[in-house]
Structures are given as structure tokens and as C-alpha cells.
């Protein structure tokens, strides 16, 4: 708790007062700080997810709660047909809830690589989001500049025997801890998917990547875009929020 507050303060500080070059020495810290900066201690947000395909496009409004690095709850607000469908992630386990049949289904390990709600995100992308912190070692490849700020190019390789999905990830993290892009490589180190930040705005009291886009490499007309319409960072959210009971009546 205390640590996170300090990190958030430091993050805020670095936004306002430029960057602390000292942190470059420890890449792991940059990644972790950035991750925490993005997720905050806890957050409540509303996101519009646009699934774009060459012949069609679909927009969903999703309400999301996150806590720490591991727990999250999403629930679909619109379109009305899907209203109330929810996904709960606790640790590395996932459950899905459908109001029409009033049932909770635990997503089995074999389904974790399937796409989430038909988007370009897989269940694993959601469930293993903290994997980058725990299962990878990071090294700096170089730096570039973006909007006059220094950007670290980071290569993340999985630790031996770590149960990872990706054979390599490449990150671009701006010195003010904003995530600019994340590239996912398979075990043959061939690029598979890319997530990039398209727009950075003030959200929830700090600079935040408002629009993200995930697409497969070589695909320009097939992508999933996340647009944050509201974001609020909280110091804590109750444990009961990340429970199956809460998933069932997720209509806060």
C-alpha cells in the first residue's frame, strides 16, 4: 500500500518534473513502475472496444475494475444484447458470466489462447497480464524520442521454465512511464501481434494512453482498439468486488 502510493507519487512527479535518469539503470524497475503507473493501485474505467474487420466493425462499451497487478472484473454495458456479460480474472484464473442463462463458466486452460469476446486479445492477454513482470527478464536495446521525451526500447525474454505465452516481447516505454507499444513474438522470435498507443491524454488525474490498438503483424485492416472514456484511480477496491457473486450481479 505504502509502496504503491510512493510509486504513484513518483510517477506523478516524473510526469510533472521531467524524468529521473537514474532509473534507467534498472530496466526491471522501469517496466514494473510503468505497469503500476498504468494500472494504478486500483482503477475503475469505461472503455470502448472497437473490433474492426475488413467487412464489419463492432463496438462494445466495457466497464472495468482492476486491483493491483492480478485482479480485474470487466462487464459489457452495451450493445444491449450483450448487456451484463462479465469476465472475472483473479490471479491467473478466469470466469465468464452470461445473464441470459445466468451461469458462470470457468475458462479452462485449453481455452486460454482463444480470443476474448471475438477481439484480437486472447484470454491469456488478460489473465496473464502480469506475466511480463514475473516471468521475463528485461534489457534495454536503445532509446529514441517521442514528443520530446526519451523512450526506452526494452527487450523482454522469458525466464527459463517460466510458463509463458510469448517467446519474446519488445516494449517501448516513455520516460514518464507511459507505455507506447508492446510487440509480441512467438517462440521462433517471429513477430505475431503489436499493441500501440495512439493517443495520450490526461485521464484520471495523470497522462494516460487513451487509445490503444492491438493488431496482428502484417494486418492493417483487422484490429481491436480500446478507447478509455473515463478512468479513475482508487486507493483500494473491496475484495468482494472481485468475487463470483459480484460477477453475477455486475451492474454497478
Amino acid at each position: 500500500m505504502k509502496r504503491t502510493v510512493i510509486i504513484s507519487l513518483m510517477a506523478l512527479f516524473s510526469v510533472l518534473a521531467g524524468f529521473s535518469r537514474a532509473r534507467a539503470e534498472d530496466v526491471g524497475t522501469i517496466v514494473e513502475d510503468s505497469f503500476n503507473y498504468m494500472r494504478g493501485k486500483s482503477s475503475v474505467s469505461t472503455v470502448i472496444m472497437t473490433i474492426h474487420r475488413p467487412s464489419w466493425e463492432r463496438k462494445m462499451t466495457i466497464k472495468a475494475w482492476t486491483r493491483g497487478q492480478k485482479d480485474s472484473l470487466f462487464y459489457i454495458e452495451s450493445p444491449p444484447k450483450d448487456h451484463g456479460n462479465g469476465t472475472l480474472k483473479r490471479g491467473r484464473e478466469m470466469w465468464m458470466y452470461n445473464p441470459k442463462i445466468n451461469r458462470i463458466i470457468k475458462v479452462p486452460p485449453s481455452m486460454m489462447s482463444q480470443s476474448w469476446m471475438g477481439s484480437d486479445f486472447s484470454n491469456n492477454d488478460l489473465a496473464k497480464s502480469d506475466s511480463l513482470l514475473t516471468d521475463y527478464t528485461h534489457s534495454i536495446l536503445g532509446t529514441e524520442t517521442h514528443d520530446g521525451k526519451r523512450v526506452y526500447l526494452i527487450k523482454s525474454m522469458p525466464k527459463t521454465n517460466a510458463p509463458v505465452v510469448w517467446g519474446m516481447q519488445k516494449l517501448k516505454i516513455r520516460e514518464d512511464l507511459i507505455w507506447l507499444s508492446e510487440e509480441f513474438y512467438d517462440e521462433d522470435l517471429q513477430p505475431v501481434k503489436v499493441m500501440t498507443t495512439l493517443e495520450i491524454k490526461m485521464l484520471g488525474g495523470k497522462l494516460y494512453p487513451k487509445v490503444w490498438r492491438m493488431h496482428e503483424v502484417d494486418e492493417t485492416d483487422t484490429y481491436t482498439e480500446l478507447t478509455y472514456t473515463s478512468l479513475e484511480f482508487k486507493s483500494n477496491l473491496p475484495d468482494s468486488l472481485f468475487s463470483q457473486t459480484s460477477l453475477r450481479k455486475a451492474r454497478r
Binding site: I101, R103, M111, Q114, M117, G118
Partner: protein, 412 residues
Amino acid sequence: MSIDAKMAWRNIWRNTRRTILTISAIAFASLLLVFMLSFQFGSYETMINTSVKIHTGHLQIQAAEYREKRNIRYIVSDLNNIAAVLENIPQIASYTYRAQAFSLVSSAKRTYGAIVTGIDPAEEAGVSRLKSLVRQGAYLSGEDTDQALLGSLLARNLHVKIGDELTILGQGRDGSIAATVVKVKGIFKSGIDDFDRSFLQIPLKTFQDVYAMRGMVHEVVIVAHSLSDVGPIKRTIQKDLSSLSTHQRLVTLDWDELMPGLRQSIEMDLISGLIFYILLVLVVAFSILNTFLMAIFERTKEFGVLLAIGTTPGRLTKVLLIESMTMAAIGIAAGIIVGSLLTLYFQLHGFDISGASELLSQFGITGRIFPKLSWISATSGPTAVLIITFLAALYPALKVRKMKPVEAMRAN
């Protein structure tokens, strides 16, 4: 009959027992080849026909990208026009519509991913053996709505039995979330693990409601009266469909494209068969070579006399070749006739393979195999025997040419 032929004919029957043995070796090899080849071809046809009747059908009409991407959006609409085309093709035995989507299927205890397929219970029974594969419970009926059939392995994995509830959660055609609860009505077992582990059938109407399909489907599955009709049907459908003015591109796929593994296993079996045939023909060749060589050693003196009284070496070669080819011809003719009769008998009565059913069930073959006699199976093996006997006979026949009359007469 020329004098050479007459001599050859008499020479053949000088040692009756040896000649009969040689002829029977050739005849037996030919017979075996005719029967085995017919048997193989017949079993392939059985294999193809039984495999396609489990699920895929002889032919399918799909949207062009569907086979590769398996995306629920690649649909076949315009069903009325397609039905009109299919009704006009007499070689089609039956056809049905299917729609499918990969979804989460969960019971009270477990969740697995499965291919949820919407079927038309009545029409499906004419196309696939699904109805007869139901081992527990009952097949779907026309009035059923929230009922499901599932494979035995999937049922075991999910720990469900007849009457239990299953939750299906997937994605509809419009991207919305498709969810429904169904009751297990029947459990089927095809013997093909992949099929028994990953398929769940619900009525097509229910599928279309849940997955927002708006009356559309993914596959039109067609079964022909006979395997040989598949090619012509495919061409007719392709021609007729292209004249329909549909906005989407449809493709017609035959069993070979739908189940590439089947053709490969057939090819592998054919190759291992081929190795066996080559060995068989080689054994025959050596026995014939042996017979002819023996004959020449025995008759060295006789050849010496013949050469001494003025017979040309060429004529001797000719006589010897006539001898061997006559024997080969008799043997092969006998082999083809007996082999064909044997094959025809089994073609009518079938070959009981219940003892090997465990092994063959993975190819979808159960019960009886019917060999299939064709021009290829009746002639290709014997032709190989004829060629190899000729080559085997050539060596001794040419050896005679090098004989010196005096030395030959002093032999023994």
C-alpha cells in the same frame, strides 16, 4: 503350328511335374495379385464411404474462406437456390445443412472447448451415420429445441450423462455473445477419437437462434449414390452455382479436400502393398529363372546335337522363349481367371473382418469389406508378372547362343 512352336510345346511337357509347378507358381502369383489389388481398392472405397458418412459427406458447399478460417461469419446464404440446384442432380443421394461454431461447453463440474454443430435431425440421418452411432439416450427429433447430442469422449471429459444440463457459451455471427443451456439427449460413439472428443450437436433451428445466424448455415453436406459420381456432381454444382448471381463466393469441396489425411493413409497403404507385390513378383521371377536354367543344363547335350546338325543359335533362342512364354501365358491366364472368380465371389458376399475391427475402426471400417474387381486390378499385377518372367527367361535363352557344339555334346 510351326515346327518351332511344335518343338517348344513338346519340350514343355517333357517334364510334366516341373512344368506344372512352374505354371502354378506363375498362376498363383497372378491370382494373388488380382485378388489383393481388388481387395485393396475395395477396402479403400469402403474406407472412404464409411469415413465420409461419419461427418464430412462426399461433398460440401461452403463459403470460400470458411474451410481455412472456420470463422462464423463465412456463411452460405441463398439456400433456396442451392437446394434447387441440388434437387436437379440425380446422382445426389441426399444432402443437409449444418452450421457450426467453436464454443465453450460446460457441465456442473468441467468446461471444455467443443465444436457446436447445428444439424437438421431428419436430413442429417440421410447423410451421416450419426443416428446409428448414438449409443446412449436417443437421437434428436424434429421437435427438439434445447437438446444436444455429444461424443462419448466429450461426455466423459465433462462428466455428464443423459438428462444432464450443459451450458454453451460462444460468439454469434454478429459478434454478440451466444449462450444457451441444453439437455444431453444422446451420446454417440464413432470410434474416431477426434470426432467423439470435440463435437456437440444441437438442432439447427436452436443454433441459428442462439448464434444469430438468421436462417443461414456454414456447410451444405452432400452424399452421392456412389464414389465415382463425386467428380461429375462436383463439376455440375460448380457450373450451376457460378450461374447463380450470389454476392458471395461459394466453393464445392470433395472428400479428398475435406479429409486430406484419408487420401494420405490410402496412399501409404498402397505403397506398403506395392512393396509386398514387388517381393512376390521377384520370388516368382527367381523360381522361373531357376526352372529355365535347370532345363538348359539338363539339355546341354541336346542343344549341342541340334547345333551340330545345323540349327542356328537364333532358332534355339526362339524355341526356348516360346517355351517360357507359353508357360507364362498359361499360368497368367489361369491366375486371372481363378483370381477374378475368387474376387467376384467375395465382391458379392463380402469379407468378414470383425476380428480386425479394433484396428480398422480408426479408419471407420466396420463389418464387411467388399473387394472391387476392375480392369486395373485384374490386369496390372499379371502384366508385371509377364514382364518379369520374360526378363527371367531371356538370360538362359541368350546363354544358349554362346554354346560350342562339340563342348556341349561332351557335357555331363
